[in-house]
């Protein structure tokens, strides 16, 4: 009797445990994940778009050869399942997915990839100039079989995968109809929703500056999303954004304003804070040919300024702790690419004053030093769309006054600000100081390129132009061996730290907030909606 009862109890218990285990791991799939943002998608056309959220959109609706893995560190397969370099690195062969389809049912093959690359090459002086940098040094792409892509390079590169990680593959059967007028039709094609794509989601509805609605793509060649759909709602200000989350009109915010972090945490929302890829800077015009205030070219003056920046206060007051003092042009979030030997300069007014005294720049009766006959009073150009700048500037201005330097803020919208920096006509001779921010990528190539001579009139906002540095940049690009490439990248960071075109202020954390009924959250330095990988929004699901 006893044994049987025990056996029954045992079975019942086993069933209970099994049921508990099963229901414990069983999650609700489906539903719509509603994400809010205060930025926007400017265009659905990859040849036209500039905003980060547009690129994140392309990440999720288009196949790319490569993506980053869940840890956002190493490269992982996306449309390409494996890759191999040959011919001394001048030929790369990618094996791509078989049996894949576009959302309209047409087959997705390596021919689409080859077509996209070749088209970008063909019109890189015109319509496809946007992506010219990504396909630099490529001569031709072939698709010998539907699952093989062969890319030919003029020289062996060190960052092939990093470049392809950002290169969306477009459906040839759609886009080849828009290459008229010497390819210029590529840019006028609106690519309206519903977009023919092949990512984990399909973009089914897009109203500019309002909403982008994505539906799960059940024909996706990779891991399918848990949710049925996700939407990105765009708000024109942070308060509306946070209010919508609190009111449960949206489920998550991709970039929480620093001042609202505490209240959201306190209201029961899941707040994820990770080191981000955004860092703010204080720019000193480093053009050797600049005309006025040439004392700013002296690294000792820049060092003195560096000592007068209270990074701890900036992190505390401007970012309320959701940031770290800045130091290098490459963010720590870039992982191994970041050189840990490059450290933030400590705040030391005495040292700053000492350096400037030692240079013989005496303080005048108004407390402002005179250097080579002119007062050390400078305009600081600031763009209006970086929200942390006004308060940061005030902190820096107050501190600089104590070392005898006067700063005046010249607030312009971003294009006027950029014009003021590059004036006159891309020569970078006029401006003295500026403040801005950079959102880097995990691969360091882009951030390192912005201080090359070649980027005058392109990305450069510092006027920095140094032959030695340019040689190092070229070298790391053409070094296929990653360890050797890393060594060069580290060397470049040290080099820049000595010459200081940028005084790095803060490395921002990326803070996102989610309603408590969501789980499977995968964050990234760019937030949940990013152009780094397709992982975040495929993993998220309701509890």
């Amino acid at each position: 009797m006893q044994a049987r009862r025990l056996a029954i109890v045992g079975v019942v218990l086993a069933v209970c445990v099994f049921a508990a285990a099963a229901s414990g791991s069983e999650r609700k799939s489906g539903g719509t994940f509603r994400l809010g943002t205060s930025s926007r998608i400017d265009s659905l056309n990859p040849f036209v778009a500039f905003n980060q959220d547009a690129y994140s959109t392309f990440e999720y609706i288009y196949p790319e050869l490569i993506q980053y893995d869940k840890a956002n560190r190493n490269f992982a397969p996306d449309f390409a399942t494996s890759w191999k370099a040959s011919n001394g690195g001048k030929t790369w062969t990618f094996k791509t997915r078989g049996g894949a389809v576009w959302s309209d049912g047409q087959p997705l093959t390596s021919a689409d990839a080859a077509w996209t690359i070749n088209t970008a090459l063909k019109y890189k002086g015109g319509a496809t100039a946007n992506s010219a940098g990504l396909i630099a040094h490529i001569t031709r792409a072939d698709a010998p079989t539907p699952t093989t892509l062969v890319v030919h390079y003029a020289a062996a590169l060190g960052n092939v995968l990093g470049q392809f990680q950002q290169f969306p593959i477009l459906p040839k059967h759609i886009w080849s109809q828009h290459t008229g007028h010497k390819g210029n039709d590529l840019k006028s094609f609106p690519n309206n929703a519903p977009v023919v794509g092949a990512g984990p989601f399909n973009l089914i509805k897009f109203t500019k500056d309002q909403i982008a609605l994505f539906q799960r793509n059940d024909k996706f060649y990779g891991p399918k999303p848990n949710v049925d759909a996700f939407g990105l709602q765009m708000f024109s200000n942070d308060d509306a954004l946070v209010a919508a989350l609190k009111h449960h009109d949206i489920d998550a915010i991709e970039d929480v304003p620093a001042t609202a972090i505490k209240t959201l945490r306190g209201s029961g929302f899941t707040v994820k804070q990770v080191p981000g890829l955004d860092h703010t800077d204080f720019i000193v015009n480093s053009n050797p040919k600049k005309t006025k205030h040439r004392e700013l070219l002296d690294p000792r003056v820049k060092t003195a300024m560096d000592y007068a920046i209270d990074r701890a206060q900036i992190v505390r007051v401007v970012f309320l702790g959701a940031a770290h003092p800045g130091d290098s042009i490459i963010s720590p979030s870039s992982g191994a690419w970041y050189n840990p030997a490059v450290k933030p300069t400590p705040f030391n007014l005495a040292k700053a004053n000492g350096i400037l005294d030692g240079l013989g720049y005496k303080k005048g009766s108004d407390g402002i030093r005179v250097a080579n006959g002119s007062r050390m009073s400078y305009d600081v150009i600031t763009p209006t769309d970086v929200h942390s700048i006004p308060r940061t500037f005030q902190i820096i201005q107050a501190a600089f006054r104590k070392i005898g330097i006067e700063l005046k803020q010249k607030s312009l919208d971003s294009s006027a600000a950029f014009d003021a920096i590059t004036a006159p006509n891309g020569k970078y001779t006029d401006f003295d100081l500026s403040m801005w921010d950079w959102v880097g990528l995990v691969d360091p190539d882009f951030m390192l390129s912005v201080v090359t001579c070649e980027q005058y009139g392109g990305w450069s906002d510092s006027g920095f132009c140094d032959k030695t540095y340019d040689a190092m940049y070229s070298k790391q690009q053409l070094t296929p061996n990653q360890a050797k490439r890393r060594a060069i990248v580290w060397q470049m960071q040290k080099y820049l730290q000595q010459r200081k075109p940028y005084l790095w202020l803060a490395n921002l954390d990326n803070v996102s907030a989610y309603s408590s009924n969501w789980t499977g959250i995968v964050t990234s330095p760019q937030g949940p909606f990013n152009s780094i990988s397709k992982v975040s929004l495929t993993s998220i699901q309701q509890k």
Binding site: A132, L134, I211, S236, F446, G457
Partner: protein
């Protein structure tokens, strides 16, 4: 024939004003420092080739005179150009934005008229009493409030109850008519209420003035002597008199309201023409800006003309 004379004169004036506005528009934007190309070339991995490509595409390397002629020609064909930012026809962008703004603005004006008329009547009827003072002062008080600040205050007050941003709940997939209607109604409440509150003060004062004037007239005394109830008097005589300036004010206001909606649309994330203008400025989207500016100026001219003709039609006492 003075009537026809007047109409022709005002219409001609309106047309000339439009032309001046068009030219002013163009001149204003072409004197700007900085070029739209600058921002458009801030693409990741940009090369110098990109800037040239953009300059060619948008005709930005031509002379100012040539650009002006291109602009006028296109205007005659009803073509306002192509937006720098999203490469869509400006007219399409503006049309969509305008359609979003109008309901909110009209509803706000309606609030203002209703509240204003009510308070104006009360103030006039209760002349000399504390009621009048309170009514007039609160009307002035609301009128003095910065629009955006009042909007923010309403957000603080109603944050939990009413939606405080956007035009609709974008995540309602295929809602029924009533769900959709209720959703729109909920979203439009705060923005139009803000507009109504800052506008109504003017109507209060106008209605009150007009009513005071009428109430002093002899025929009103006669009516009262005859035993007519006060409300009837108000409704039949005084109010009618007040409607002329009210109508005129509405006509004039509509032209400017669309422009004034910028502040409200920024606070409430309303996707209308005000926000479109602001975004266009931020992105240096010159064709969008020129188109929006032209639209706003023409609407002011148009509604001024309407107000002129309305006033003329309704009040033959006017002399030029």
């Amino acid at each position: 024939m003075r009537g026809a004379d007047y109409v022709i004169k005002r219409t001609a004036f309106a047309l000339v004003t439009v032309f001046v506005a068009v030219t002013l528009n163009f001149a204003l934007f072409r004197l700007a420092p900085g070029s739209a190309v600058t921002d458009l070339s801030r693409v990741p991995h940009a090369t110098p080739e990109l800037r040239q490509a953009l300059k060619k595409q948008f005709g930005l390397d031509k002379s100012k005179g040539a650009q002006y002629v291109i602009y006028l020609k296109q205007l005659v064909h009803g073509n306002l150009g192509v937006s720098f930012a999203n490469e869509q026809p400006v007219s399409t962008n503006l049309r969509v934005a305008l359609i979003n703004t109008l309901p909110m603005v009209l509803l706000g004006t309606l609030f203002a008229i209703v509240i204003g008329t009510l308070t104006g009547v009360i103030a006039a009827w209760r002349r000399g009493t504390p009621t009048e003072a309170v009514t007039v002062t609160s009307a002035l008080g609301f009128y003095s409030m910065p629009t955006h600040w009042l909007g923010l205050m309403l957000i603080i007050i109603f944050a939990g109850t009413l939606p405080t941003g956007g035009m609709t709940n974008e995540f309602l997939i295929n809602p029924s008519f009533w769900t959709h209607f209720r959703d729109l109604a909920a979203h439009i409440t705060l923005p139009s209420l803000t507009l109504g509150l800052v506008l109504y003060g003017e109507y209060t004062l106008i209605v009150r003035s007009a009513m005071l004037e009428t109430l002093g007239e002899d025929y009103i005394l006669t009516a009262r002597a005859k035993g007519l109830k006060p409300w009837t008097i108000v409704r039949r005589h005084a109010l009618r008199n007040a409607m002329l300036p009210v109508a005129t004010l509405v006509a004039l206001s509509l032209g400017y309201i669309v422009a004034g909606a910028i502040l409200i649309e920024t606070v409430f994330s309303w996707p209308g023409i005000g926000r479109a203008v602001y975004d266009a400025v931020l992105q240096r989207d010159y064709p969008m800006l020129q188109g929006a500016f032209l639209l706003l100026t023409i609407s002011v001219v148009f509604f001024n003309l309407v107000a002129d003709l309305l006033y003329f039609k309704l009040d033959p006492r006017i002399t030029e």
